[in-house]
Symmetry: C2
């Protein structure tokens, strides 16, 4: 990651910053290779101190020492037996830090107050900063793409295995548990978000939570799932039916699939996230369901399951090669249910490369 | 929870605050009954606005509407289709809020900056506040104690089931996965923290992460696990041996158990957390292992697996009836391994009530 560190350090110098505290766990992993996860934002497994020049630090406690030394190549692993602020006070002096940035979007207000007190005492200027590392994470390296692709492959294998065993009478919760157990059995670190299984009318809520309702023949069942493998996430949605789908369900799935294919056809470097959203959305609008597609078309995926770039009306920026996004149009009809289809793709110079191979309930013939 | 709300409202009036934003997820659940969990601190499922007088609000988005209305009795469920700050701006005016407190310990610095901007514009004073709701959560009601006890019972059943199937050659990771799968099979919401299985030398780290190392006959194996049931957590540690433990292991387990029993004997309302820690620690110190017990004796358990009160040298406050704590002394010897034993108890007027019944590897005879 020397190249990435160089870019961060140039970013710091440009802003006349002496150092940056990296608290966001995926940013920490991205820059250092340290894979530990945090129990919560208040119980961190470590914080990076990136200097504008010189070898960066990984500050952690004794529990993580061996793991940190093995994983964080090129970092000085330094322990804080008497707490983070005691160590930071020492480093502010020894490293002559006068302007210190911190990740405002992953820093508790109460911690910032403690930091501020220390900074005033040491005459250090604190600078809230957001998105510097996330910006670098947008375009994935070949190695990152390989990991994301491996996560997508595993996701599809897990989905297909559980889909084969789907039976009427299983509850939404039960199906979600089966999916999450299968992820672990296949070797995933775990789900990348809480699995959604929403059958019949429950599917009308885009982010439904699995209930004790049993799934039935003939109704659309939305399965939205993701897993994490070697740090990287997958995210995939299928809408399936047990038994024979009726004509309305088939028509809905075909319409959403057309919107998805239109989105992929528009996806390439140089167009904006907004433009891709527009193209796919207009397919659904023209069929008269525009009011029933209430979320954006897609989002970036990487170390976080939700990251930049957004495929939404708010993102006017041009997409760049190596970005990885979901394309996930949906239609939600209160009382009836919903259909959502989600695949992932890599943005390329002249188009995109779709990462999914699974075609379960994607390309239905008219009935 | 009317009684609890009354106490919060009195606390607000005493501080001349017009309202409090509750963002900490367990505080939100405690006050409102709303059981949704947050994807992350940046993606909340809802925020409470508790007024110093009048009916409190649960602010959420459309995905959670039905669940919020069903669960949050006595709250006005109000949606923010255009974002939290748009709704808050309106409520600051309609509810005549001039001094607004927020939970500094569960509030992102970047969100506080946005709030601050709104507050300046509306001439509202923002007041960082910490621990007001946590303070009320320290003493558990009879209903809460029943839930915690149910979580402990389930934890013991899960532990015993997996312990019966322990065999040399299983890896630490595999045992941890078995435990977490069994939690879900028994009906738990999930683990309350990442399960620790640390065999032989790995046990010398108090917070070891399970590895691919296979467990062996004769070595001490630390299993530290917890689950969440109906919102409430359990936390339990056993140190077990496959085959026959050697004399040293038996002696270590007996010593740690003596320290634990001394801790329980000292545990009652009116003594400080510090005093209980001292009593148990001195048993280990007198045996010459004081330097190898590097963490505090215990912590509170409730909606959070780690909450107040601490049984540690830093807690000078008197314990109160209805508090629930762990007592978990340990000895960690680099190169050899570790022993930790953890049970939970309710503090009572004249002593304590130990919640655990399981005695696996607790009361060993001398060999």
């Amino acid at each position: 990651m020397q190249h990435t560190l160089d870019r961060i350090q140039r970013g710091l110098k440009r802003r006349k910053l002496d150092a940056l505290l990296v608290t966001q766990p995926e940013n920490r992993r991205y820059l250092s290779g340290f894979t530990a996860s945090d129990h919560s934002i208040a119980e961190t497994s470590g914080i990076l101190l990136i200097l504008a020049q010189g070898t960066p630090y990984l500050l952690t406690d004794s529990r993580y020492r061996l793991q940190a030394e093995a994983e964080a190549r090129g970092f000085r692993v330094t322990l804080y037996p008497r707490g983070f602020f005691v160590l930071l006070r020492r480093l502010l002096t020894s490293e002559k830090i006068k302007r210190l940035a911190f990740e405002s979007h992953y820093f508790l207000h109460s911690t910032a107050q403690s930091l501020d007190k220390l900074a005033r005492e040491k005459k250090v200027e604190m600078v809230p900063l957001t998105g510097l590392v996330e910006e670098l994470r947008l375009q994935k390296s070949a190695e990152e793409l390989a990991r994301i692709e491996a996560a997508v492959r595993m996701n599809e294998a897990v989905f297909q295995e559980i889909h084969r065993g789907l039976r009427p009478g299983q509850t939404e919760k039960e199906v979600a548990h089966r999916l999450e157990n299968a992820m672990r059995a296949h070797g995933a670190e775990g789900p990348s978000f809480d699995t959604i299984v929403a059958a019949g009318p429950n599917g009308a809520l885009p982010h439904a939570v699995p209930t004790d309702r049993a799934i039935r023949n003939g109704e659309p069942i939305i399965i939205d799932m993701g897993l994490r493998l070697a740090g990287y996430c997958s995210d995939m949605t299928r809408t399936v039916v047990l038994g024979t789908p009726d004509a309305r369900t088939v028509a809905m799935i075909r319409l959403v699939r057309q919107a998805q294919l239109a989105g992929f056809a528009a996806l390439r470097a140089g167009v904006s996230g907004m433009a891709v959203d527009r193209v796919a959305r207009s397919v659904i609008e023209q069929a008269g369901y525009g009011d029933h597609f209430g979320h954006s078309l897609g989002h970036g995926v990487g170390l976080n399951v939700h990251e930049g770039p957004a495929l939404s009306y708010r993102n006017r920026k041009q997409l760049l090669p190596g970005m990885v996004v979901t394309v996930e149009p949906g239609i939600y009809l209160p009382g009836w249910g919903g259909v959502r289809l989600e695949n992932m793709a890599v943005v390329e110079e002249k188009g995109c490369r779709i990462l999914n191979h699974d075609t379960t309930f994607l390309d239905l013939q008219e009935t």
